[in-house]
């Protein structure tokens, strides 16, 4: 029910955006994330972007996972 999937914003038209999800295009509302920019990813839930994916934080989390993996090796 609270499923939300990452979608890439391709273009913005007022409070709507065209996004791409796994190769499939669709039009969504960005009323809840009006500051989103073209090229950013959003979490898409029932036709609305509910959050902008923070690319830097994603990278930090991945770095942390790699550090844990390295430390667990040692």
């Amino acid at each position: 029910m609270c499923l939300a999937i990452p979608a890439r914003v391709k273009s913005i038209d007022g409070l709507y955006a065209d996004v791409e999800v796994g190769g499939v295009g669709r039009r969504i509302s960005i009323q809840l994330t009006p500051e989103v920019q073209v090229g950013e990813y959003v979490l898409l839930h029932t036709g609305y972007a509910i959050s902008i994916v923070d690319a830097e934080e994603a990278e930090e989390t991945m770095k942390l996972l790699l550090e844990i993996a390295e430390a667990t090796d040692g």
Binding site: M1, C2, L3, A4, I5, P6, R8, V21, G22, S29, Q31, L32, T33, P34, E35, Y41, L43, H45, T46, G47, Y48, I50, S51, V53, D54, A55, E57, A58, E60, T61, M62, L64, L65, L66, I68, A69, A71, T72, D73
Partner: protein, 363 residues
């Protein structure tokens, strides 16, 4: 897909699992609040990967499942009114109320339509100006801002045949209720990812402060959940209880201020009726008086009749984390996904449906 595939890498998962095995010394009990997490945990076999001293319980985090029979009966009664079109998310259609379901109502000739979004319901209202279009507004804080946005849009576009039956519920109060009931003793909570994308992580602080329970917000990919468990284990081993986020790409501590603002514009807190738990003060959201022209409860006269619970169904205690589907005599016998008795078997994120699909028949 970006932000999905990289969080499913098996070699990184293995290292995290090794680390959890190495660091976890105490017998601990963790609850994943959200039904979406339950699905991921079963789908990726995470329970089996964790050491035996970590027990995972499923919580009440499925809006379809926690909708009470009394509220379902209201939706079904609305469906039977003349000139009404009911619009609802798919899972709700099949959930049995006291005597019937929206699906049965449809087979009796009522106009009940499945929608993906409140935007679809608004579109149906525009296309059917002579009918009253009622959206069954179930959902937690993930979904409610979208319903708020829909109502504001309907107001702006002067759509006067669109209504919402608000069954919205909010998560922190029900977490408190479950903890105060004292039926399950928890050491840590896997906090919901997409509810927290909206409300942030601060609303869980009282759990760490007042109950000495570790709280970590998690995403839905296997690495997200394992990282969350690793962080919970560290907090519990160090007896340093706080609220952390393991899903920082989607969740900020302050949440989504715009979504919170729209939700607060349209809704106010009210008591709500939870299946298996009962009436919980300030755990639901109703439309503010300013928006009462969209409120289905205020604009339609219905008499749903007396409420009846399903004989033998254990959904209530399963939602409180007290029982598992394996404790229910109906599970896999008279209650199956094809013929569900209770909502936890209907919803794709219900605990019974997840146990049925992914196994764990040994408990």
């Amino acid at each position: 897909m970006k932000y999905i595939d990289e969080f499913r890498q098996p070699e990184l998962a293995k290292k995290l699992v090794d680390r959890i095995h190495r660091n976890s010394t105490k017998h601990i009990r963790l609850m994943e609040f959200c039904g979406g997490h339950t699905v991921s945990i079963f789908k990726y076999g995470i329970r089996e990967l964790l050491p035996g001293n970590i027990e995972m319980l499923s919580g009440p985090g499925c809006p379809v499942c926690v909708t009470s029979n009394a509220d379902l009966d209201k939706a079904i009664a609305l469906a039977h009114l003349p000139n009404v079109i009911i619009t609802s998310f798919g899972d709700m259609i099949r959930v049995p109320g006291s005597y019937s379901s929206l699906q049965s109502a449809r087979s009796e000739g009522c106009d009940v339509r499945i929608v993906y979004s409140v935007l679809d319901a608004i579109q149906i209202a525009k296309e059917n100006p002579n009918k009253s279009v009622i959206f069954i507004g179930i959902g937690f804080e993930t979904t409610t801002p979208t319903v708020a946005a829909g109502i504001l849009q309907a107001e702006q576009e002067e759509i006067d045949n669109f209504y919402v039956l608000s069954l919205s519920k909010i998560c922190p109060p029900i977490m408190k209720s479950i903890l105060d009931l004292g039926e399950v003793r928890l050491n840590g909570i896997v906090c919901p990812g997409h509810v927290s994308a909206v409300i942030g992580s601060h609303p869980y602080q009282f759990i760490a402060d007042n109950y000495d329970i570790a709280c970590v917000v998690a995403g839905f990919e296997p690495l997200d959940i394992l990282l969350c468990v690793d962080m919970l284990v560290n907090q519990i081993e160090n007896e340093d209880y706080k609220v952390e986020i393991a899903y920082r790409r989607g969740v900020r501590p302050e949440g989504n201020p715009q979504a919170l603002k729209l939700m607060d514009t349209v809704f106010e807190t009210a008591g709500a009726d939870w299946r298996g738990i009962g009436a919980v003060p300030s755990s639901g959201l109703r439309l503010r008086d300013t928006y009462e022209k969209f409120d289905a409860e205020k604009n339609f006269d219905i008499d749903p009749g007396p409420v009846r619970e399903h004989q033998g169904c254990q959904c209530g205690s399963i939602l409180r984390g007290v029982s598992t589907p394996l404790d229910c005599p109906l599970f896999r016998t008279s209650c199956t996904p094809e013929h569900p008795v209770g909502p936890c078997m209907v919803s794709s994120e219900g605990t019974c449906s997840t146990y049925y699909l992914f196994g764990d028949f040994d408990g």
